[in-house]
């Protein structure tokens, strides 16, 4: 067991990998496997625009791009695409995180969890409660509001804990083939979700017996 691993923060962007597939998370996090495909490349292009760190103020809204975030207690860190600071009547500001995604709103909650984790960082950094943020989807070019309610916060915390478990135990979960997910995954050729279900030693023995 490598003890230092436990102290390393989990990257915010990895949470959605875990929610998509725990094995995908482990392949990226533990095994350093990353393959670009069309979808990931499109995501990169979309992010090039927001990856430039800067800030500006327009009216009551101050906007920061590529803002570095961390939550020391949860040991998560990452970069927010955009955080708007909305000025309140009393002069205080409430951060409003916005994450850019390719495609359109999805059935699963991976994108929302990533955004919520950003909010958890911002809450710790600023000492304020953050009620909501937004996901900006490249395909529909529209903001999709996300409320950080108890359920989403709980799911986010559970995800962080599950990710940490994988990193600490250093075990890559076994593959479970699901056509819809696996065929869209850029790691399918590294993962081989269909092939490692069978016993290799039994297979080899049977092959040798055959002839």
């Amino acid at each position: 067991m490598i003890k230092q691993v436990a102290l390393e923060p989990i990257y915010l962007s990895r949470l959605q990998h875990y929610l998509y597939c725990s094995r995908q998370f482990a392949l990226i996090e533990l095994e350093n496997i990353w393959i670009e495909n069309q979808f990931t490349a499109e995501g990169q292009v979309l992010h090039q625009r927001v990856n430039q760190a800067d800030q500006q103020k327009r009216g009551a809204v101050r906007t920061a791009r590529a803002l570095r975030l961390a939550n020391a207690e949860l040991r998560i860190e990452g970069v927010a695409d955009v955080v708007e600071y909305h000025q309140q009547a009393d002069g205080t500001e409430i951060p409003f995180p916005i994450e850019y995604k390719r495609g359109k709103p999805k059935a699963h909650r991976a994108d929302e969890v990533q955004l919520c984790a950003q909010a958890l960082c911002l809450e710790e950094m600023h000492g304020v409660a953050i009620p909501e943020g937004a996901l900006f989807y490249g395909e529909v070019r529209r903001r999709h509001p996300v409320i950080f309610d108890a359920e989403l916060r709980n799911l986010t915390l559970q995800t962080i804990i599950a990710c940490r478990d994988i990193v600490q135990t250093n075990i890559t979960p076994h593959a479970i083939y699901q056509a819809r997910k696996c065929n869209g995954c850029s790691l399918i050729d590294q993962c081989h979700p269909k092939d490692f279900g069978k016993s290799a030693s039994a297979w080899l023995a049977a092959q040798l017996k055959k002839d």
């Binding site: 490598i2 533990l30 095994e31 350093n32 496997i33 990353w34 393959i35 670009e36 490349a41 250093n170 075990i171 890559t172 076994h174 593959a175 050729d189 590294q190 081989h192 092939d195 490692f196 069978k198 016993s199 290799a200 030693s201 297979w203 080899l204 092959q207 040798l208």
Partner: protein
């Protein structure tokens, strides 16, 4: 299955390669000669005087595209490796496994199983294709006996408990196999007596050595790409500077090189005047035929074979890479054994 993406071989002298957005651009005298999307690449092999921008190198390194520099004659010069290469947990497991005799023997045993199985295939295939044409009764019997003895060696591998006994069995099989190798040559001006290396002193051995080197190089790249340490082997002893694991992995593919060499000879793609002899008796390929044979080797790698474990037809060039993945997945605990490539 991952397609065998393109390997670009740059043979244009004084070419300048750089990155333009997501494209690789080849220029000669500031004139653009080619433009290729980088994501379609698997490797970049540069022959001779070819220059690459550092940004293109970094991009390739990050995306698992191997850049290899060879001299004009295909001799290996250098390789570019980026910061993202390698997986420390996998390497650590590999090294720990290397300390465990039982596990090392198990891995080495499966690899040699692959080798012997594939050696037997070379003989079986010859018997199947040429039996009627073999006039000499003795040759036919020799080959049939060799086939049976290889089968026996194959089963005896399972009983080996040490690397030394495994090596002994492998040596026995090699004697049987190379003992009949000359029977598989159907050109009078080529004759094979026994396997001689360091240096090879006849054309057949020169060819075998030459292509074994290329094979080991491919295995090494495949292991590096997969994040394994090519120097830390299970069968071959560790020695500084030696790619022991690449040599281990090459074992199961050697018979495929053998058959490739046989076909070059038997189809007269190589002839005896393609070789030159040096004062110490060593023999090498002349420059021009070497280029032709390199091209033939690249073509061969595009041919498809059935991979029984993955139950898919894959290009030969992808095999070392797939085997490296099986090994990595085994070391990471995805399956209970390494499985070699079985040629069917």
């Amino acid at each position: 299955m991952r397609p065998l993406r393109n390997v670009i071989y740059v043979q244009t002298q004084n070419a300048w390669l750089h990155k333009d957005n997501e494209n690789l651009v080849l220029k000669v005298d500031k004139e653009t000669k080619a433009r290729v999307p980088i994501h379609k690449l698997q490797g970049l092999v540069c022959f001779g005087q070819v220059t690459i921008s550092p940004y293109l190198m970094a991009h390739c390194a990050e995306n698992g595209i191997t850049i290899t520099f060879l001299n004009m004659f295909g001799k290996y010069l250098a390789r570019v490796e980026g910061p993202a290469s390698g997986n420390v947990l996998l390497r650590r497991t590999q090294h720990i496994t290397g300390h465990n005799v039982e596990k090392s023997v198990a891995i080495a045993q499966t690899m040699l199983t692959g080798k012997l199985y594939n050696q037997r295939y070379v003989i079986r295939r010859y018997l199947r294709d040429h039996s009627e044409k073999i006039n000499d009764e003795k040759i036919l019997i020799d080959l049939q006996v060799a086939e049976k003895r290889l089968t026996r060696c194959l089963t005896q591998l399972t009983d080996c408990k040490t690397i030394d006994t495994l090596m002994g069995r492998e040596g026995e099989a090699a004697q049987v196999y190379f003992g009949v190798f000359n029977h598989l040559i159907r050109q009078a001006d080529f004759e094979f007596d026994s396997r001689r290396r360091r240096p090879p002193t006849d054309p057949v051995n020169a060819l075998l050595s030459f292509f074994y080197t290329l094979l080991t190089h491919d295995c090494r790249s495949a292991l590096e790409t997969t994040g394994l340490d090519p120097a830390s082997g299970f069968l071959h002893q560790l020695r500084s500077g030696r790619p022991s694991l690449a040599l281990d992995m090459a074992e199961e593919f050697r018979p495929m090189v053998d058959r490739f060499v046989l076909s070059l000879i038997n189809k007269r793609q190589v002839v005896s005047k393609d070789f030159e002899t040096w004062p110490n008796g060593s023999m090498t390929l002349k420059d021009e035929p070497r280029k032709t044979l390199l091209a033939a080797w690249q073509d061969r790698k595009q041919d498809n074979l059935f991979h029984p474990w993955f139950e898919e037809t894959v290009p030969i060039g992808l095999l070392p890479w797939l085997q490296a993945q099986i090994l990595a997945r085994f070391l990471r605990g995805d399956c209970d054994s390494y499985v070699p490539f079985l040629w069917k």
